[in-house]
Amino acid sequence: MLKNKVLSVHGVKISLTGPNEDDRIRGLPLKEKEKIAQEVISTAISGCQNPYVLFDGCKESLVALHLVRQIGNLDLRFPVLHIDTSVRFKEIYQYLDKMSRLWRFDLVTERNEEALRTLKIAENPADCCKQLKADALAYAVKKHHIDCLITGARGKAQKTGVLVSERDDYIEVNPLLFYTDRDLSEFIKTSRLPYCSLYDKGYRHIDCTPCTEPAEAPKLSSEDRAEIDKKLKALGYLG
């Protein structure tokens, strides 16, 4: 049913399951991208029995989670899945707990316990990631009979990825496929979404602690910087 589904926004055709190579999509205003994302989520979940949202505490999954809330009139109707590698930042663990209490959802946490007993963390990062993330996810999908997983995936998938990808056991929904870094920041800022404080310490991407570059703390928060720029501009300094 999803295979031939095409959305039309401002004359731009958007395929749900095929690649979208029209560059105009990335240039759409954020509000339009938000509508597309919501439409994608609504369409994808409409035929599913047991959808889950993947939430790892990073900005991408935060926005995806909030989009799902918006569809439910700010009420989260689906369970939220966290794949725990057990070596994430303590701030992330605190934040995940906070969000589950604030947005009132049950956080279903799954780990690859077997791998955690035997694996030497980060010795072979690709293998480590496979075992602690991909294998743990596959296990969770089976365990919870997940037939639809909404993620915050973007990155490399932007050009070649698809909004809804059909996997063996479930469909993966990537509503943020067209979101840029800037879109994400703007969305979080305008919606005043609570985000993990590590971003204010200069981290751009937050993975597990062994594989995340330590950030140099910015002297000024981005908000303060913007405020100062605004004042300087008003004084003619920045033209």
Binding site: L74, E91, I92, Q94, Y95, D97, K98, S100, R101, L102, W103, R104, R192, P194, Y195, C196, S197, D200
Partner: protein, 714 residues
């Protein structure tokens, strides 16, 4: 979920007991008092700590300082965005637009108090007079910032506004006319001076901290040469700051009304902490102890009108960390996952049901107060002097203290009986009958009417009328009496104002359906002036109900002159007076008689028969109707036709039989005294009959004969 607009106002350093609605002697807060009458007022609300930043963190998270990330850190602390959850974030998560406007730099963004706010305006505009590095914002500027935001946003999603005012906080410097409002007023009292100054970081007992100095004169290096030392002046200025804040709240309410969003708005007024104004020899400081001067704060919650909550005053002790769960409960947010330490007060407001038992505490680094049902028990805490986050005064904190906090410490105690002003607690049943019957009688004529109750005194009568009327305003010239009435009687349609009944401070004309003036006419010399005011305010064809004693029976017959009565009237004089102003006048009589009531058990009878009895020569006999003479007259006057049967005979029946109770009590006292007298008489008689007494009497007589004392007497 029910999305209501919410306005939460926090007035920094405002003590509850300096507001009129909490019984203060000065008229510091007419707007807040008025708001309180449409609200639920919590008589005993306690702050979780006594200085701003820890308290704010606790208010916003509903956690005591130990369980939120700021703890007791006033200057460097901040909430943890990863773990602390604020009321703002909870409201934001429900779709609220959230705006905060604060007035002190201590609440700036580094505290993360801005979490969840769409707008968090912490722009300060001026420096304190004694601390140039401490930046604050004048309340009017804060209010205007809020007002501009509201104008733009009130039509959109529901809003949550957090307003923080700093104008009551020291130094007590107020704009005109608030800088002169209470100086040298009737409550200024005896002069008291404190002539020593302490630094701000090491405050000392019986010293004024440097940052609080008023009217300081300094030399070029900033040393203080002169300053105000009179304590009365400081307190008058503190009160002036409250009045200034009150006008800002008046303007805020006016704007909400203008935008037609006032009625359905949830409004909360409270303070972060109180202020010591000399208690325990602490002058003009907070954060030093957890005594009630610093912990007891106002808490007034005006619910949305559609909830139909009865305004009331609640004596249950509560904490201001209860505000967050109360707000969330009001909008239907399930907050059980937030593990809040406060409890919702909605049930208490709605049904009077007490919250589940919990511990209410106020705490600073060196001291903790446990608030019990009647007492506050204060205990010292162990401190680590190297890691203190705020000022610590060992002398003040080291003792165990127990304070009976419900003991009236206000300036407005119950009035002493002067022989004139009626109070419902008076023992004499006859006086109770007279006053209650009059108001009950008048109540028949005020259904759905707008009523003015002249010389309302204690307020019981206005309160009775408000049960039937659309709206009642009680007016009395005595300020403390009116403030007590405002505090005691809560109804959304009832208001008390201070003013003279011959110069009524209501500008609008012909706005009352009914004006009542019981037992006040005789206190006024210029009856025409009073009547002119009545005619000015009464609607066309409105009803004036007046009572006054009959001079013949009240003064002439007992030959008694009441020193409070300036002009009493005979029946004919009353008629003439009323006829000059009203076309139709019906004059009734009132007197308390001892009576029995025979009545059908099935319900009220329309036809009442009256039998008069009289006691003559110890025997009751039936007597003629014309012998039933009133002690008071009650007149109904109007320019509209008044039918004779507008009011029938009416009876007030005291089912508790207080007259007889009084009689029995007096009889019992008399009997006891008679028994004592008899006992003494018998003892005296035994003495007279004794040989000793007889011998003594004989000896005295012999001595008198010898000395010739009784010589010449018959």
């Amino acid at each position: 979920m029910s999305h209501k607009n919410i306005v939460w106002i926090v007035i920094d350093a405002l003590r509850a007991d300096h507001l009129g609605c909490y019984g203060y002697m000065r008229n510091t807060s007419p707007t807040i008092d008025h708001l309180a009458k449409q609200s639920v007022l919590f008589e005993y609300a306690f702050a979780p700590a006594t200085y701003t930043v820890p308290v704010m963190a606790s208010l916003l998270t509903s956690k005591y300082p130990h369980h939120q990330s700021i703890g007791f850190d006033q200057s460097g602390g901040s909430l943890n965005p990863n773990s602390d959850i604020t009321v703002t974030e909870a409201l934001k998560s429900c779709g609220y637009q959230c705006a905060g406007f604060v007035s002190s730099m201590v609440l700036r963004k580094h505290t993360h108090f801005d979490m969840g706010f769409d707008v968090y305006d912490a722009a300060m505009t001026k420096a304190e007079i004694n601390r140039p590095n401490e930046l604050v914002r004048d309340g009017q500027e804060t209010r205007k910032a809020f007002s501009r935001w509201l104008e733009k946003n009130y039509k959109d999603e529901p809003f949550f506004v957090f307003l923080h005012y700093f104008d009551v906080h020291g130094p007590y410097v107020n704009p005109e006319p608030f800088n002169d409002l209470f100086v040298q007023d009737a409550f200024y009292g005896e002069a008291r001076y404190v002539d020593r100054v302490s630094t701000d970081s090491v405050p000392r007992l019986n010293h004024i901290p440097n940052y609080q100095l008023l009217n300081p004169v300094r030399d070029g290096e900033g040393n203080v040469l002169e300053y105000e030392k009179d304590i009365r002046y400081y307190i008058a200025q503190y009160d002036g700051g409250i009045s200034y804040e009150d006008t800002l709240i008046r303007e805020t309410i006016a704007q909400l009304k203008e935008l037609d969003i006032y009625d359905e708005c949830l409004i909360i007024i409270t303070a972060d902490h109180g202020e010591s104004l000399g208690e325990n020899d602490v002058y003009f400081f907070h954060g030093l102890t957890v005594t009630p001067d610093q912990t007891r704060v106002p808490l007034i919650i005006k619910p949305p009108k559609e909830l139909n909550m009865e305004p009331k005053s609640v004596p249950t002790a509560v904490s201001t960390i209860d505000i967050m769960p109360t707000i969330l409960d009001f909008i239907g947010y399930q907050y059980d996952r937030l593990e809040l330490e406060g409890v919702s007060l909605v049930q208490l407001m709605q049904t009077g049901e007490e919250p589940k038992e919990r511990e209410i505490v106020s705490e600073i680094e060196g001291q903790i107060a446990y608030v019990g049902e009647k007492d506050i028990v204060i205990k010292p805490k162990e401190v680590d002097p190297d890691h203190l986050k705020f000022i610590y005064n060992k002398e003040l904190c080291e003792k165990d203290v127990k304070i009976e906090y419900r003991k009236k410490t206000n300036n407005l105690s119950e009035p002493e009986w002067t022989g004139e002003r009626y109070h419902p607690l008076m023992d004499d049943p006859a006086i109770n009958y007279e006053h209650l019957h009059r108001y009950q009688f008048a109540g028949e004529f005020v259904k759905d009417k707008v009523v003015l109750d002249l010389a309302c005194g204690e307020g019981y009568g206005s309160h009775l009328l408000a049960g039937n009327a659309k709206r009642v305003i009680g007016i009395d010239i005595d300020g403390p009496t009116i403030r007590r009435a405002s505090q005691k009687y809560f109804k959304s349609n009832l208001e008390f104002i201070i003013g003279s009944i011959t110069d009524i401070p209501i500008i609008e004309e012909h706005c009352f359906d009914t004006i009542i003036c019981f037992e006040a006419l005789e206190h006024v010399k210029d009856h025409d002036r009073l009547m002119s005011e009545v005619k000015r305010l009464l609607k066309e064809n409105g009803l004036f109900i007046v009572s006054t004693p009959d001079k013949r029976l009240h003064a002439d017959r007992p030959d008694y002159r009441n020193p409070f009565h300036l002009k009493e009237l005979y029946l004919q004089e009353l008629k003439v007076l009323l006829e000059r102003y009203f076309k139709k006048n019906l004059i009734y009589g009132q007197k308390v008689f001892t009576m029995s009531n025979i009545f059908p058990t099935s319900g009220n009878s329309k036809n009442t028969k009256e039998y008069l009895i009289e006691k003559e020569n110890k025997i009751f006999t039936f007597t003629q109707k014309d012998k039933k003479q009133p002690l008071y007259f009650i007149a109904l006057s109007s320019d509209a036709p008044l039918s004779e049967d507008i009011a029938d005979n009416s009876y007030l029946v005291d089912i508790s039989g207080s007259v007889f109770e009084l009689q029995r009590s007096l009889q019992s006292t008399i009997s006891q005294q008679e028994a004592v007298i008899t006992e003494y008489a018998e003892a005296l008689n035994r003495i007279y009959q004794s040989y000793g007494w007889k011998a003594l009497s004989l000896w005295l007589k012999v001595r008198d004969l010898i000395s010739g004392k009784n010589r010449g007497k018959p």
